[in-house]
Symmetry: C2
């Protein structure tokens, strides 16, 4: 048998495990939060707080998701009462998005938890290594 590269050393595999760890930490810490949100839902609320009135396509592009996925995410946020959707009268294809009062409160309460949990994702690295890792990750994704 020709010896194949070790799966566990491949970038794709390592990155997947890293992402797995990241979402596991997020979910775990969110359990004790006043409002339970997934990481995508948090990202959506965060962007809407900064840029109220954008539509779904713009939201999707800002957090790097496709339209279909964001449509589902927004639907769930609307159901939870955190986001309001409204037909844009200037372009009747688009739906304007906005945080509700409840959405603002939820975001304010959850934001510190999310900020705090970030370090935990890379807890196996020293401070210097974390900084190094993040710089490389930013470059790798083209930021």
């Amino acid at each position: 048998m020709t010896s194949r590269d070790d799966l566990g050393q491949m970038p794709g595999h390592l990155i997947r495990k890293l992402n797995q760890r990241s979402t596991a930490v997020f979910t775990e810490r969110m359990k004790s939060a006043p409002v339970e949100l997934t990481s995508v839902q948090y990202a959506a609320l965060d962007v809407l707080a900064r840029e109220p009135g954008i539509d779904q396509a713009r939201l999707a592009s800002l957090i790097a998701y496709d339209r279909a996925t964001i449509g589902e995410v927004v639907k769930r946020l609307e159901k939870k009462g955190l986001v309001a959707r409204q037909v844009n009268e200037e372009d009747r294809r688009a739906r304007t998005l906005r945080l509700t009062g409840e959405g603002e409160v939820a975001l304010a309460r959850v934001a510190p938890i999310v900020a705090a949990l970030q370090a935990e994702i890379l807890a196996n690295l020293t401070q210097a290594e974390q900084a190094q890792f993040l710089a490389l990750a930013r470059k790798a994704v083209g930021a």
Copy 2:
């Protein structure tokens, strides 16, 4: 408004985008492959080639997934005729897994493509940076 940390700089967000890039590259390169596989499906075949006869729980633990997900993945691989499942007579709860002849061929054909695409995931980094990134990623996931 209290200024929140920038979402785009958070480890969780960067890691997700990295993973997104990784799966996008995988899917793209796989389109021209003789057999179309997802990255999980490839990982499963790779492990089964190395350790034929293991059961689903062991497979799941080796590639760091939960049993439920691997059950679905294996079901699809079986449907494609790449993996054979058999009740383990020593422990009738378990299903022994094995590559079929077709599975062996598929893996052999796809392996070089997968190996080649790995570098592309980190194409924005220099060779030295790639090595550095991988070392940090390995440490971060605890490998």
